[in-house]
Amino acid sequence: MTQAEIKLCSLLLQEHFGEIVEKIGVHLIRTGSQPLRVIAHDTGTSLDQVKKALCVLIQHNLVIYQVHKRGVVEYEAQCSRVLRMLRYPRYIYTAKTLYSDTGELIVEELLLNGKMTMSAVVKKVADRLTETMEDGKTMDYAEVSNTFMRLADTHFVQRCPWVPATENSDPGPLPPAPILVISEKDMYLVPKLSLIGKGKRRRSSDEDATGEPKAKRSKHSTDNKEPIPDDGIYWQANLDRFHQHFRDQAIVSAVANRMDQTSSEIVRTMLRMSEITTPSAAPFTQPLSSNEIFRSLPVGYNISKQVLDQYLTLLADDPLEFVGKSGDSGGGMYVINLHKALGSLATATLESVVQERFGSRCARIFRLVLQKKHLEQKQVEDFAMIPAKEAKDMLYKMLSGNFISLQEIPKTPDHAPSRTFYLYTVNILSAARMLLHRCYKSIANLIERRQFETKENKRLLEKSQRVEAIIASMQATGAEEAQLQEIEEMITAPERQQLETLKRNVNKLDASEIQVDETIFLLESYIESTMKRQ
C-alpha cells in the first residue's frame, strides 16, 4: 500500500468511524494480517476497545479474519475496500436512477450499516419513506420488499456468507472463529417472508393511528418479542455489480460521443443482455445474435431489422473496435470487446490529462508516440509538424512527468551516447498507475482542505446551530414573529455571507472528490483487466 493510499484510508476511516477505529484500521493496513493481542499491544489501546473497533470494521466488510494453524486468528484489512467508501454516493445515486427512491434508500441503509437482515431493511426504509410522504399516507412493506427482491434479482444486493448448519448433533469443540461459506446459487435467493405492515412515523400523532392506536402499538411490541423470521440471513450491497454498471455506462457514453444516440442504445441493449451471463472480469461478452438483439431492443425504438443490421456492421467496422463480429449464425454474432473498451477509456483519460496539463501541442505529440509505439526525436518533429526546439522542450516536459519513457538501443557494446538510438515510447500501464497514485493524493488533499475549511469556521457554525435550535424550540412553543426576528438577527449579515461561502466551498470540494473518483474508477478497471489477462 502506498503512502498516498494509507493517508486516504486514514482520512476516510476517521471521518466515518472515529479516532479509535481509524487507529486500528490504519495499523492493520500498514502491517498486514495480525492477531488480536499483537494489535492491542502495538497500538497501545485496551483489548476491549480493539475488539469493538474490529467489530465495526468486520461489520462493514473492511476487515476479514482467518484461522491459521495452531488456532490463531489473524485479522487483515482490505485497503481497496476502504477506498470504495469514496464511491458510496455514486452507488446510491445509481440505485436511485434505476429503482427510484425506494431503491435509493435500501442501498443507502445497506451501505451505512454494512450488513442487515431483509426485514430490518424493509422496516427502516418504510419508516423513512413514510416520513417524507404527506399526512395520512404510509408506505406499505410489500412495496419495499418488492423493490428489494428486484435488487436481489439483478444482483445489486447479495447475501453474506453464513455459518453452515452442521449435520452431526455433536458439535465438538467450537472453532476459534466461525468459518463462513456461501454457494453461488444461494447468493441471491430471497427468503420467503411475509412482511406485513406499514411504515411508521417517528412522531406518532393521533392522525395516522386510524383509530386503532392501542392495537397497532401492541402489535408493534409483539413483533419485537417474536423471533425475526429471517434471523441470520444478512444482506450486503454487491459492489462488483455496481462497478459493472458504471463500466457499461462509460462504454455507452463513449459510443454515443463517437457515433450517435441509436448506436449507443444498441450497445446498451447488448450490455444489458450480457449482464447476468458474463462474469465481470471477462474480456469479451458472450456472443449475441442480431436476432436476439432485435428482440430485446427497448420498446420505444422501432427501427427495422435492416437498419439494425447496418448499425451493427458500422459498429463492428469502427476503428474504436468496441464491438466485434464473431460469426455469421443467427444473422451475425456480435461481441463487445470489454478489455479493448477499458483500454481506450484509460488511454483517453491519459490524453485528457496531458492536454490539460501541458497544452494541446503536447497532447498531439503524446498521441503520436502512442500510435507509433516507438519514435526517434527527429521523427517526432516530422510527424507532428512542430518546430524542433519546441518539440524537444515538450518531450522533455512529458518525460519528467513520467508520461513518456525512453528506450535505449545501443549500436555498440559500450553504449556510447553518441552511438545509441534513443526512442520515445509510452507505457500505458505504468502511466495509468502513476496517474492513479496522483488521484489518491489529490482526493486526500481535497478532504484535508474541506476539513480545514470547516475547522476554520467552527465557531461560526456552532453559533448558527445554536440559533437554529433556539428558533426551533421557540416555534414549537409558539412564539411571536417579532421574537423570532430578534433571534435570527443574532447572526449578522457578513456572518451569514461567510456561512454561505463556507457551504458553497464544502459542496464544491465534495463534488470534486466524486469527480476525481470517476477517474480512479476508469484507471483501476483498466489496470485490473490488464493484470487478469497476464
Binding site: 463517437r258 483517453a348 492536454q355 498521441r367 509538424m385 489529490s442 486526500a444 488533499n445
Partner: protein
Amino acid sequence: MADVKVKVQPPDADPVEIENRIIELCHQFPHGITDQVIQNEMPHIEAQQRAVAINRLLSMGQLDLLRSNTGLLYRIKDSQNAGPVSFFLSKMKGSDNQEKLVYQIIEDAGNKGIWSRDIRYKSNLPLTEINKILKNLESKKLIKAVKSVAASKKKVYMLYNLQPDRSVTGGAWYSDQDFESEFVEVLNQQCFKFLQTKAETARESKQNPMIQRNSSFASSHEVWKYICELGISKVELSMEDIETILNTLIYDGKVEMTIIAAKEGTVGSVDGHMKLYRAVNPIIPPTGLVRAPCGLCPVFDDCHEGGEISPSNCIYMTEWLEF
C-alpha cells in the same frame, strides 16, 4: 610469308595521326569504343603508343573515359556533353587533376548535393586541399553551397545551376530554412473545418446510417482540391503534403482515417487504395482529475500537510474556490 612477323614501322606511327584516327573512330561509334576496337583498326600500333595517344586525348578533354561491364569505353565528348567541362577547362587549361576530380564527384551527387566530408572520402584528398579546391570552384561560380535544413551547420555542395532537392530545403513547409508554423496551423484548421462541415451535413441528412457515414468521409484528394481552391497557400502543395497535415489532425484526436480498396483509375487512388478522413468527437469529456486544482498543480510533489505548500494553504485551491 604469313609466319614472318616483320616489325615494320607503319607509315602512320606519328602520334598525332594516331590520335586523329582514334577520334575518327569515336565519331563513327558515338556510343563509345573499346580498346579492342582501336586495336582492330590499327593493328600495327603497339599498345604503348596507343596508350599514350589515348591519355593525351583524355587530358585534352576530347575523349571521355567510361566503364562498362565489358571493359573500358572511350567516347567522344560532343559539344553538349562537354559543355560545362570544356567551359571549365577553357577557363583553366592544364588545371589540377584534383579539382577535376572534386568537380566530378559534386556533379555526380546531382541535386541532393554532397557534404565536404563525403567528398574527402570519395577522392581521398586531405582536408586542406579539399577546402582550397572548394573555395576555388565557388569563386569561379561553378558550384554553390546550400544549407541543409536537417542540420543547420551542415553545408552541401552542388552544381551552380541545379535546384536543391526537397529533402535539403524541407519542401513546402520551410521557407528559407525556417519552419513555418503559422502556415501549418492555418492549413490544419482549414482542413478540420472542411471535414467538420462535411460530417455535420451528413448527420443532418438523416438517412439510413450507412449512407450517413459514407457521406461524412472525405478522401484525401477531395481535401487537396478544396485547399488548392481556397488559395491560402502561395506554394504549390501536393497530395502528400495534405496527407501529412491530415495526419497531424489524427494525432490531435479530431479526425480518424480508414483505408479502402479502390479501383485503379478512380480519382485520388494511390496503388489501389484510398485514404478517407472523417471528423470525430472525443470519446470522453475532460476527466475528473483535471477538474480539481491538484490535477494541474505544478508543485504537486512538494505538497504535504504541515509543509510550506499544503492543502490548507494552497493558493490554487483558494483561487479555484472563489470561482
